[in-house]
């Protein structure tokens, strides 16, 4: 994922915490807010949970 011309390894950061990311990538000169934004962009989007349709509603 490229953010402000920095290509972050999305796969590597997938199972890491935001604070680990912010600390590790601080040398790029981005602000904490920018780093947090970059981290958020790398998080896999969760699928919305489908509610089971009740029989009464189906009718």
């Amino acid at each position: 994922m490229t953010f402000n011309r920095i290509s972050f390894n999305e796969k590597f950061w997938a199972d890491k915490t935001e604070s680990e990311f912010v600390k590790h990538e601080a040398h790029h000169g981005l602000t904490d807010e920018q780093l947090k934004e970059a981290f958020a962009l790398m998080q896999p989007k969760k699928k919305p949970v489908e509610k089971p349709i009740k029989k009464e509603e189906a009718k």
Partner: protein, 322 residues
Amino acid sequence: MPYSLCGSSVANLGEQQCDKSRGVIKKLFIFNGSIAAADYADPASFLSKMVEYSKLPKSSANKVFVLNEIQDIADNAEADKEGSLNQGFKATLVEGKPGYKIKTFGGSDLTKRLRMWNNQNIKIIEYDANGVFWVVEKSSRAYGFSAKIFSKGNKAATGQNVEEGVIDTTVGFLSTSEYYDNAKWVETVEGGNVEDIVSLLDVKMTYVSKSTNVYKIKLEVPGSNLVGPYNIFESDGGVTVAAVAALSASFSAGSGTGYGTSLPITSIAADNTLKALTVTFDSTAFGLLSSGAKFLFTPPTPVQLDGGNVLETELLSVVLTK
């Protein structure tokens, strides 16, 4: 003569219309691998394979290397050895080996690169002015013709002829059987573009500096300029370097025996000040390496670079030290 054994040893001499014969050779491809029959079942498949193989890393067995377009060609076949009897009979005793001399354009750097192929045992696929590839088929696979080449160039021009930037290459084929008796052709069909078969340029990744687990790596084309190698950042103000950085997921690094222990890369960015890449390795894995430990930093393949709009380039791996 009513009785003859010729029928079992020769062919009839009828001819198909539009039968192919070698035209003026326009391009040569050094190809030391082979193409499976399924991949030349039709001309488009063959061309597609040649294109694919031209974008392989140079270490690949099936790599296709492309010589620049031929500008001049002269026959250089060895003369047949003839014998005669003193009452006038004359016959060819030994057939001369095929070969030719070609001229291509290229600078001093390309001349040096071509000369690294001098007198190597190689195989060559020809492409002629009629849009026909010439190969040899063995055991249901297509190969180039066994050959040796010898190139020279970068001679002082005299101003009498077209000489500046001309590379002279002698091509000698090793087997008349391959070249004449077992040559086969594949034509290019409408829509097929031989120019899609490309030559790649080596770009070295060179260590600049480091700060713990953050390394600065330049991307440079080695060459004849005494001042130094050419930094590809200069070609477009860093656009290409940024495109390389964007492929961070396709880089890898490893340490230990055979560089088999993964050293994860967490990010890669373009450094516009140093005109280099900023490569950040995982600090935890990096911390486990002993001081002075070597690790191999491996770039994306030419195909991956192609996909990232970094065209006709092969990045070369570099060994870094902690």
